[in-house]
């Protein structure tokens, strides 16, 4: 694939006009905006699907933040007399086995899913960028050691690894953050390592090294800022995976524990009542799909806008 890309680029190059023929006016006419970020944003803004996904994400964040205002009931309020009732005007999505309002529990579940996505990826990002930068910058033995560690960590299928860590740590939200962070740092490390290796050879980096810049300065001031766009794309595309894994963990009973409302765990309970009360299973599942779908679409759009080469 790499070779195909090179070939295409050559073809484009030969078709382009030589630099001498281009006047500054022409350049600005062809590229109305300058700057990497404004260009990316412009490309992103042109895609309606991606914008819709972004809108839904903003809405979801608002729901999570304003949960107490939006939820019609207290998510923990039990009323056994009203248990397992279908959708009605009082309870738009019905009630669960303890008579709790399902809509309110889904609204509060947004908090769990979004925070799991964001915090786990923040943890993964910190570990991965650190390890990747070390491996890419120093090379040699450091690189070999870190690369093998990455390989060993990626040798476990993701869910299996998450289950193993949760088994050791015990259930709970904080442990889910840690487990999912440990699970996905390798994605970051791998890409950052490659990127840093390439950037290390650039003239401005070499110049900084020659001028006596310390390793920390070179890495923090020159290399990592140039990896920023990749990191943003990775975080956006990492979140939906983390949300799905959290749902799976909570579904098996190793993740978020009751009475905290989590979508995966709601589906797990709802499964017992599926034959006579299907609404209960459908609603949290749709919530997961909408959230993960929006992140996936937004992430893909962001990747294509920022750097299409990241497409795997």
């Amino acid at each position: 694939m790499r070779i195909n890309m090179e070939r295409n680029r050559e073809r484009i190059d030969t078709e382009q006009v030589t630099p001498e023929q281009v006047t500054p006016e022409q350049l600005t006419a062809e590229q109305p905006s300058g700057g990497f970020w404004s260009d990316s944003l412009r490309r992103l803004g042109g895609n309606h699907l991606v914008l819709t996904a972004a809108g839904i994400l903003v809405l979801l964040v608002a729901v999570a933040v304003l949960a107490p205002l939006i939820a019609p009931y207290d998510p923990a309020y039990q009323s056994l007399a009203d248990s397992l009732q279908g959708p009605s005007r009082g309870h738009l999505l019905g009630t669960d086995e303890f008579g709790r309002d399902i809509l309110s529990r889904i609204v509060y579940g947004t908090r769990i899913s979004l925070s799991v996505g964001l915090i786990s990826q923040a943890i993964a990002c910190c570990i991965g960028v650190f390890m990747g930068a070390l491996a890419g910058y120093y090379g040699g033995l450091t690189d070999t050691f870190i690369s093998r560690t990455i390989e060993i960590f990626s040798a476990f299928p993701e869910l299996l690894f998450a289950i193993g860590i949760m088994f050791v740590l015990g259930p709970g939200v904080i442990n889910v953050f840690i487990a999912l962070g440990l699970l996905s740092w390798t994605h970051y490390a791998r890409l950052i390592r490659g990127q840093v290796m390439q950037l290390r050879e650039t003239e401005y980096t070499q110049a900084c090294i020659v001028c006596g810049g310390s390793d920390a300065r070179v890495i923090l001031r020159h290399l990592l800022p140039n990896c920023f766009s990749i990191i943003i794309v990775l975080v956006t595309l990492g979140i939906p995976g983390a949300i799905l894994t959290e749902a799976s963990l909570s579904y098996i009973g190793l993740g978020v524990q009751p009475p905290t409302a989590s979508w995966g765990q709601m589906i797990s309970t709802a499964q017992q009542y599926i034959s006579f009360y299907p609404y209960y299973s459908v609603a949290p599942g749709l919530a997961i799909i909408v959230t993960v779908l929006s992140f996936n679409i937004f992430g893909d759009g962001l990747r294509d806008a920022i750097d299409p080469r990241l497409r795997r």
Partner: protein, 309 residues
């Protein structure tokens, strides 16, 4: 070529060793004494000490690890705390079930995924293409266990076409295989579409057309053949994921495969069983990646030559 295979084999051995190490560490930092877990509360200290000695748990950790690796190399992964069955026997027995489920799901995913991807690429921008792209991104975003439950609800409970649990008839594999396959079908369709679109405007496709080849020969013989590389990579890595992902599906449909065995051993805190299963699944995952990498080099000479340099 031989050098490349040798290098990959050596890497795989290192990774497998690392996997055994990580698995062992994970299982040994689990809180709670396994002996106390399996014994009655009233057991005498002498009895506990005896069991501990029998299971080799009184030895230092490095000896335990050494014995674990030595056993694993001879396909001996210890015995279950509860059923006393040898872990390896249980694994082989249940692996057959998981393999049947996973391979059915795999076939569904490959056949439907690749066909959908190819047609979608050929019909770029039309209704079918949009449907495939939309369906694929939804398929990737839906939790496997939820899809399984919904399939149970519609085709098992409402329409009563298929049984919703167990493995009594070949019939009962249909819903689990579809539930498991959907996700992989979606990702394979996506990659096939992208890869086909990259290839289809190449010069050699135009050449093939201009020398009068039929559309069928152009698409299958020239375009798809060259678009296969990323699809094979994905199909290979997905094979391992599929085996591991069958865990949730098996749990939902009460299918006695490796996945269900793993969840069961977690709930019962059966450490040797869990340790063995994790090692087993991880080993399969690593080996299937190895096979993919090597077959890669066979298919694409560019990889072979660049690796030999």
């Amino acid at each position: 070529m031989a050098a490349y295979i040798f290098k990959r084999l050596a890497q795989t051995i290192i990774v497998l060793w690392g996997v055994s190490f990580v698995t062992f560490i994970l299982m040994n930092v689990v809180p709670g004494d396994p002996v106390l877990l399996m014994m009655e509360k009233r057991a005498t200290p002498e009895a506990i000490a005896r069991i501990r000695h029998e299971m080799g748990l009184d030895k230092p950790l490095y000896t335990q690890y050494f014995n674990f690796v030595k056993g694993a190399l001879r396909f001996d992964l210890g015995r279950s705390y509860f059923t006393k069955e040898a872990v390896m026997t249980a694994l082989t027995r249940r692996f057959g079930v998981t393999l049947r489920l996973a391979s059915s799901a795999y076939v569904i995913a490959l056949v439907l995924g690749i066909s959908a991807g190819v047609v979608s690429a050929l019909q770029r921008g039309r209704a079918f293409d949009s449907a495939v792209r939309g369906g694929a991104v939804i398929g990737i975003s839906a939790p496997v266990f939820w899809v399984a439950i919904i399939l149970q609800l519609i085709f098992g409970l409402r329409l009563k076409w298929f049984p919703i649990s167990g493995i009594r008839s070949p019939h009962s594999f249909v819903l689990p295989a579809v539930a498991l396959g959907i996700r992989y079908m979606a990702s394979i369709a996506r990659v096939t579409r992208t890869s086909m679109l990259e290839v289809i405007h190449q010069d050699y496709i135009r050449t093939a057309r201009s020398k009068g080849l039929g559309e069928r020969a152009v698409v299958l013989g020239h375009a798809l053949k060259n678009a296969l590389i990323p699809i094979i990579t994905l199909a290979g890595t997905e094979l391992g994921n599929l085996l591991a992902g069958s865990m949730l599906t098996e749990w939902v449909f009460a299918i006695p495969g490796i996945g269900k065995m793993m969840v069961d051993s977690i709930l019962m805190r059966d450490l040797p069983m869990l340790q063995g299963t994790v090692l087993y699944v991880a080993a399969i995952f690593v080996l299937s990646n190895l096979v993919v990498d090597i077959s890669y080099a066979f298919i694409d000479p560019r990889i072979r030559y660049s690796k030999e340099d």
